[in-house]
């Protein structure tokens, strides 16, 4: 039996999403931009999905722009804002590469985080200083981190930005958040919100960007004027329908899923920490008593092990049918030390020994038991033999 503990990388597609998608490939396959009945039916599917996602994300239907995933949504937000308005982009040092590398590409400013992984609000205010150069056009701070699960204080970020750079748009990458946080509430004051379907039981290759009315973006793709001229190209109708179904189901289940998965995650993380020494968990304070994981999403058990390398650990875990991740990788498939851990001040050696076990709505006690058997044993073996 495979124990899939890599739900922050991607998730199984929910059966209801598959069911919603299939007829859109074989029966209602019209081009939503067309004029005939089958085209109109397809367009109706988009309208329905837009309404569903608008409700899930606390936006108006017209503010939903469908994209080919989270990376495109992030790029559209940042490049679209810079292309339309010029100026500078700002983001935190722990952003996903889709944001971080884009901001760096445009020579933007990177804001440091505190040792607990949350953005340094003083450093953010400093980065918004008009004296630094061109005015800040867009500030991008994620809702929850993909490696550590650490939740950013977005409300405070919004306060700082509105005060120091009122002209700036605020973008939040909520790709990791939808399963575990009320995005509509948490990102209520953000101008731009990215999501990605495959992180919450939808298909890969589809996502959305919320674009509030005050945010004017230049399109990345110019073409047939789809998505109100904000994203050219025929929409992925079936994928969008699957995304909407998955989002609705995710949000409906959230009140029960969060405490259930948090309990599993706590048992997993506590169990690993109890079984072996030299374990450092991200985003929690050291000290006696129960571990406080309140600044982390419910699904992430993220630890660094002293004296081992993740690549070797993951190899041994895979042999035990445990699918996990070190949370950081480069295009070649090699594991580079995580920029997130570096930004949090983890020593490089320790960052090489990181492990992310990310739970999902399908995770059970059986999976946690398997991981609790395998992880301490593998770490111990590696410490003894390499």
């Amino acid at each position: 039996m495979v124990h899939y503990l890599d739900n922050a990388a991607t998730t199984a597609v929910r059966p209801a999403a598959v069911e919603a998608m299939l007829p859109l490939y074989t029966e209602v396959y019209g081009n939503p931009s067309g004029a005939h009945r089958m085209a109109r039916l397809a367009n109706q599917v988009l309208d329905d999905a837009r309404e569903t996602l608008a409700e899930v994300l606390g936006a108006a239907p017209g503010q939903i722009v469908f994209t080919a995933g989270g990376t495109e949504a992030d790029n559209l937000a940042i490049r679209g804002a810079l292309d339309a308005h010029g100026g500078a982009a700002v983001c935190s040092a722990v952003e996903h590469h889709a944001v971080l590398d884009t901001v760096e590409h445009y020579g933007g400013r990177i804001v440091s985080v505190r040792p607990d992984g949350r953005i340094d609000l003083d450093a953010l205010a400093a980065a918004l200083d008009p004296a630094l150069g061109p005015p800040v056009t867009i500030v991008s701070v994620m809702l929850a981190n993909n490696e550590t699960g650490i939740i950013q204080p977005l409300a405070e970020v919004v306060d700082v930005v509105r005060r120091s750079a009122p002209q700036a748009l605020i973008h939040t990458d909520a790709v990791q958040a939808l399963c575990w946080l009320d995005v509509a509430q948490a990102a209520a004051d953000a101008d731009l919100i990215s999501i990605s379907a495959h992180k919450f039981g939808g298909p890969k290759g589809v996502g959305a960007l919320v674009v509030r009315d005050r945010a004017r973006l230049a399109p990345l793709f110019i073409g047939g004027g789809q998505e109100r001229d904000r994203r050219g190209g025929t929409q992925n109708v079936a994928g969008i329908a699957g995304m909407a179904v998955a989002a609705a189901e995710t949000v409906a289940e959230r009140p029960s899923a969060v405490p259930r998965v948090a309990a599993l995650r706590d048992r997993l993380a506590d169990g690993i920490r109890a079984a072996i020494d030299g374990v450092f968990e991200s985003g929690v304070a050291a000290g006696p008593g129960p571990v406080d994981r309140s600044i982390k999403t419910a699904n992430i058990c993220h630890v660094c092990f002293e004296g081992i390398e993740s690549e070797a650990l993951l190899f041994l875990l895979e042999k035990q049918d445990i699918m996990a991740s070190a949370a950081s990788s480069c295009a070649s498939g090699a594991m580079d030390p995580s920029h997130v851990l570096a930004a949090m001040g983890f020593p490089r050696e320790l960052a090489f020994g990181s492990l992310r076990l990310s739970l999902g709505y399908g995770t059970t006690d059986v999976d946690v038991d398997a991981a609790l058997r395998a992880v301490p044993a593998a770490v111990t073996r590696l410490r003894e033999r390499s």
């Binding site: 042999k319 070649s332 498939g333 090699a334 580079d336 073996r381 590696l382 033999r385």
Partner: protein
């Protein structure tokens, strides 16, 4: 789950030799897992570590039906290969990074990793053979393809490593390897051989690579009478015995670098005879098994002709005078086609009288210590 013959970790560079290595072992019934080592993150186009090389290896692994992983050994590669390479050039030596990569990365770090992960053996695509002699001693022997033989760069392997090393393409010529790859439909069948040092971009070469890391100094070129005959851009890149790449103006005779005085930035060129010495120190000599007495052959570069000599103390006494070996070069020790050990070229006597040019016999070029007769 081990196959009947055991499980093997194959180091796959994305090139044709290691592709065929993996295929041959899988065919033979080993339980094979491929791994590509990510060693270098910088700019390079000469044969390793690019995303496309990793993709090639992954593609081959998929084609032959084996698992494939990527290990990032970049930090160790920097520490044990790149930094010492730069430091050696800075010190005026001629390092051999491939040998150091084999010593520290492929046959140490990777071996330890393979052991921790439960592999019985590792395999590489080197053109050399692992043979067992009558006395149950394992040795590296020259590959079947004389032109492609890579036994020289494996001279540091000891019994513990040799007992768990498979080199299946060592029995094949390069042509046979390519034919096998084509037979199997492997996408790497026609991939060109890797060239030169893997972490150095062919465009800028060593000059650009080292120039980014250490200050490079120009030097005068003088003849054995101390007369100026030209100049070199960077004395750190000049090697004893070097002939190519010297700007000697109208001088058309064959000239070799016979002496380098780095502090004075003077490079002396002379005739080949000026390089000849009767002995050369060999440092860090390590044997693949026991020390070997008697007549030996010493190979002093990747494709050099073995030179006859014998060991006396820490020095090689040449049977007849031989050109000096640049300090820092690897020297592999052979008996017949067997590698029995290896080390690094140390000091040698100066083959010529430096005269009064001010260049010549600085301390670095003097024998640090005369060979000690009889000691071992």
């Amino acid at each position: 789950m081990a196959g009947p013959l055991g499980n093997v970790l194959v180091a796959m560079s994305g090139g044709v030799d290691s592709s065929v290595t993996a295929a041959l072992l899988a065919e033979a019934g080993y339980d094979v897992v491929g791994v590509t080592l990510k060693l270098w993150g910088g700019e390079s186009d000469s044969g390793c570590c690019s995303v496309s090389d990793v993709d090639d290896a992954r593609w081959v692994a998929h084609r032959i039906g084996i698992d494939h992983h990527v290990f990032n050994f970049g930090d160790d590669f920097d520490r044990y290969v790149v930094e010492p390479y730069v430091a050696a050039h800075s010190a005026g030596e001629t390092p051999n990074p491939c040998v150091e990569c084999n010593r520290h990365i492929k046959f140490d770090k990777l071996f330890r990793r393979a052991d921790a992960l439960g592999f019985d053996a590792i395999a590489t695509g080197h053109h050399a053979r692992v043979v067992t002699d009558g006395d149950a001693v394992r040795r590296i022997a020259r590959g079947a393809d004389g032109d492609k033989d890579q036994s020289y760069v494996l001279h540091m392997l000891g019994q513990a490593q040799l007992a768990r090393l498979l080199l299946p393409v060592g029995h094949l010529t390069k042509g046979e390897v390519r034919a096998k790859a084509a037979d199997l439909g492997l996408p790497t069948a026609d991939k060109p051989d890797s060239q030169d040092v893997c972490f150095i971009h062919s465009q800028g070469g060593r000059q650009a690579f080292l120039g980014d890391r250490i200050p490079l100094a120009t030097a005068r070129l003088v003849d054995t009478d101390g007369r100026d005959v030209g100049a070199v851009d960077s004395v750190e890149l000049v090697t004893i015995g070097q002939r190519r790449g010297l700007d000697l103006g109208g001088d058309t005779g064959r000239r070799y670098v016979i002496d380098i005085d780095r502090p004075a930035r003077v490079v002396t060129v002379g005739r080949r005879d000026d390089l000849l010495v009767s002995w050369q120190r060999i440092d860090g000599l390590a044997w693949s098994h026991q020390p070997v007495d008697g007549p030996l052959a010493f190979q002093c570069s990747a494709h050099g002709t073995p030179r006859p000599g014998r060991l006396d103390g820490g020095a090689i006494i040449w049977d007849r005078p031989q050109p000096r070996v640049a300090t820092g070069q690897s020297i592999a020790v052979y008996v017949g086609d067997r590698v029995v050990g290896g080390g690094v070229a140390g000091a040698a006597p100066n083959g010529f009288d430096p005269g009064t040019s001010g260049g010549g016999a600085g301390p670095a070029e003097s024998p640090v210590r005369a060979p000690e007769p009889g000691s071992r």
